[in-house]
């Protein structure tokens, strides 16, 4: 039973990390209706630029600030040179454009900062917390807890930002209706630039967390892909959905990885590890059959 809880908590904590990536998707989707496939690549770019700048001799805090500048510049550039030219195209064309953007980043980032895997040290060690280990005999990583804390702070900040600031209100207005927002004098392009900047910031946080945990390497983009089933579970337009979806995916994939392979081994023989790789997607797929709009998504009614 303790083992079960240990796996469950480990899964929930890694789910928080997925939620961090998913948050970036939700932000851009909410504000501009673009499904930004490149968010995963942006996480990679952010992590890589932190590591790369530190390799050039900058201290961590400076590297983070510079990486933030890189991400913001990149986001604004994307908005200006790609998305603005694709206004009035069908959403699927925008989606494919962001796939192109993904490849662009995956080529650009390692070219500038180097492609060999590197460790990112942000001063938190990935070791079990002694207190919990002694009293409950469970291995809970200190690092995962910090990551969860960072994610909660980030989500709370974003929620407050959306709810109470002028820009946040403008963002919500744009998300509701571009035309109406324009007509009451909200500068659409500024808003989009801000959204891409914020998404870049979220990518930076997620990139640093993932990078510190698993090392900064190309596989980061695949981890980021896991945010997609999270989105499907939670609904594309919901910030709380991203969090809840992340928790569900994280917990269920870890539990599946532990408990399903032995059963299958009994049935078929052989080794069935690596279920983690597809379980979230299939879970999301099955979930879609029941609730196509996700847990917290808005119900969509089509009219001819």
């Amino acid at each position: 039973m303790e083992f079960f809880f240990e796996v469950l908590i480990g899964g929930l904590l890694s789910g928080v990390m997925y939620a961090l990536v998913a948050l970036g998707f939700v932000l851009i989707y909410k504000a501009s209706g673009v499904f930004n496939f490149a968010q995963g690549a942006m996480v990679y770019l952010a992590a890589l630029s932190v590591v790369g700048i530190m390799e050039w001799g900058a201290p961590l805090w400076l590297a983070v600030i510079l990486a933030f500048a890189v991400m913001t510049a990149f986001g604004i550039g994307t908005e200006k040179f790609v998305l603005r030219k694709l206004v009035n195209q069908p959403p699927i064309a925008l989606f494919m454009a962001t796939i192109g953007l993904t490849f662009f980043i995956e080529g650009l980032a390692p070219m500038i900062f180097g492609s060999d895997p590197r460790a990112l040290d942000i001063g938190i060690v990935d070791e079990p917390i002694p207190y919990i280990l002694e009293n409950w005999n469970m291995v809970i990583s200190k690092f995962d807890l910090v990551a969860a804390g960072v994610a909660s702070v980030l989500v709370a900040t974003l929620a407050l930002f959306f709810q109470y600031t002028r820009i946040g209100r403008a963002l919500r207005a744009v998300a509701d209706d571009h035309q109406a927002a324009l007509s009451i004098g909200i500068p659409l392009q500024h808003i989009w630039a801000i959204v891409w900047g914020v998404a870049g910031f979220v990518a930076l946080v997620a990139g640093m967390m993932w990078g510190a945990r698993n090392g900064v390497q190309f596989a980061l983009t695949f981890t980021a892909l896991k945010a997609l089933p999270v989105l499907i579970l939670g609904g594309f337009t919901s910030v709380p959905g991203a969090i809840v979806g992340g928790l569900i995916i994280g917990a269920s994939e870890k539990l599946a990885e532990i408990y399903i392979p032995p059963v299958m081994q009994d049935l078929f023989g052989g080794n069935f590890g690596g279920i983690e790789g597809w379980f979230p997607y299939v879970l999301a797929l099955l979930f879609l059959l029941v609730r196509p709009e996700g847990l917290f998504g808005e119900k969509h009614i089509d009219r001819v």
Partner: protein, 358 residues
């Protein structure tokens, strides 16, 4: 002067509805096929067959399959490579386990198996569309590749799921040189392209396009959504499955599940976007473009590097390749969303008036 339909009168419905109504198109196509079937085998070297022509045809077939699904029926799929994998492994298993099955029959069975799997993963399309569907097809991509790696029966207990293709023998003639394989692939691809060209202008194809343009409206005018969408998934997967079987049997000879990666799915999607979404010709143009681009960059980048005195390592070259791919996709979507096929259309329009445009 050369390309003009003036004087070509249609006197029957059959003549009016034929596949290529303009005589010059027919002549061009016959010439093209003649060159492909007789001209190229005479002159091309072994390298050309096995490194460029065969993969070109196979990827064109896969792109054609995806184009039927995405371009005509409007269902975005990111799992093309997985359906190819199903085809490759199905063909292998039919050859292995059914005594004396002709290879062409097992290719067809491979296509049918892929079609079945395609229908299974197409089921969610009845409830979801757009991005949601794209993510759902990712499930197919990861799940199928995992299955092929983990169930040893599928690869006849070989380590890490590698399969080696059998020899191809049709009616006592062994297709073992690259030239023979090229001709076999060419014949299959030509037939299937013809079938696709006919399919998309039949009532099936029109139903697909209606669903693509607006599925609610399509169902209002009496198109059965479930039937139409699943048929699109089945036909598309059939094409991908056959392409996968050819990929294993005529191109690589031995394949492993990880070879059919997400990257390959994206590559095929890029062929469709660059070539032209919703165009048979576009699938071929796109496949050629995406396959030749890396070769072109491999050759030209060192020159460019020398010119500016930059030290380009091979890693840098591959990074630049990825970047150029990405940039091209965005470029095409912005500048010419209908791809190379549209450029060809425009060229034909211009040619009709040439040399007296006024």
């Amino acid at each position: 002067m050369l390309y003009r339909e003036a004087g070509q009168f249609k006197t029957s419905y059959a003549a009016d509805q034929q596949l290529f109504p303009i005589r010059q198109d027919r002549i061009g196509l016959v010439l093209l096929l003649a060159v492909a079937f007789f001209g190229i085998p005479l002159f091309a070297s072994e390298y050309w067959f096995s490194a460029i022509l065969i993969p070109f045809l196979i990827f064109a077939l896969a792109a054609l399959g995806l184009n039927i699904l995405t371009g005509y029926a409007g269902q975005l799929s990111l799992g093309t490579a997985a359906f190819m994998a199903v085809g490759a492994y199905a063909a292998y298993n039919f050859q292995l386990r059914v005594e004396g099955m002709p290879i062409l029959v097992s290719f067809i069975c491979a296509g049918l198996t892929a079609a079945g799997v395609g229908i299974l993963f197409g089921l969610p399309s009845l409830r979801i569309k757009g991005f949601y569907l794209a993510v759902a097809t990712l499930a197919a991509q990861f799940f199928i590749v995992w299955c092929l790696t983990k169930f040893p029966w599928l690869s006849n207990n070989s380590s890490s799921g590698v399969i080696s293709a059998h020899n191809i023998n049709i009616l006592g003639y062994a297709f073992d040189t690259p030239r023979d394989k090229y001709l076999l692939v060419l014949a299959i691809v030509a037939l299937m392209a013809l079938a696709a060209k006919n399919m998309v202008r039949s009532s099936t194809g029109r139903a697909w396009m209606a669903v693509r343009d607006m599925d609610v409206a399509a169902s209002v005018i009496g198109i059965r959504l479930m039937h139409t969408k699943l048929l699109a998934f089945a036909v598309s997967s059939f094409y991908c499955g056959v392409a996968g079987a050819l990929y294993a049997y005529c191109y690589l000879g031995s394949v492993e599940p990880d070879g059919f990666s997400l990257d390959m799915s994206f590559r095929i999607l890029f062929m469709v976007i660059v070539g032209g979404v919703g165009s048979i010709l576009g699938s071929f143009l796109g496949a050629g473009f995406i396959l030749l681009l890396p070769i072109f960059l491999d050759i030209t980048l060192p020159f460019v590097a020398d010119l500016f005195g930059l030290p380009f390592s091979s890693a840098t070259v591959s990074h630049i390749q990825i970047m150029v791919f990405g940039a091209l996709i965005m470029f095409f979507l912005i500048v010419e969303p209908h791809g190379l096929a549209r450029l060809w259309q425009i060229a034909k329009e211009k040619l009709r008036l040439w040399p007296f445009p006024h």
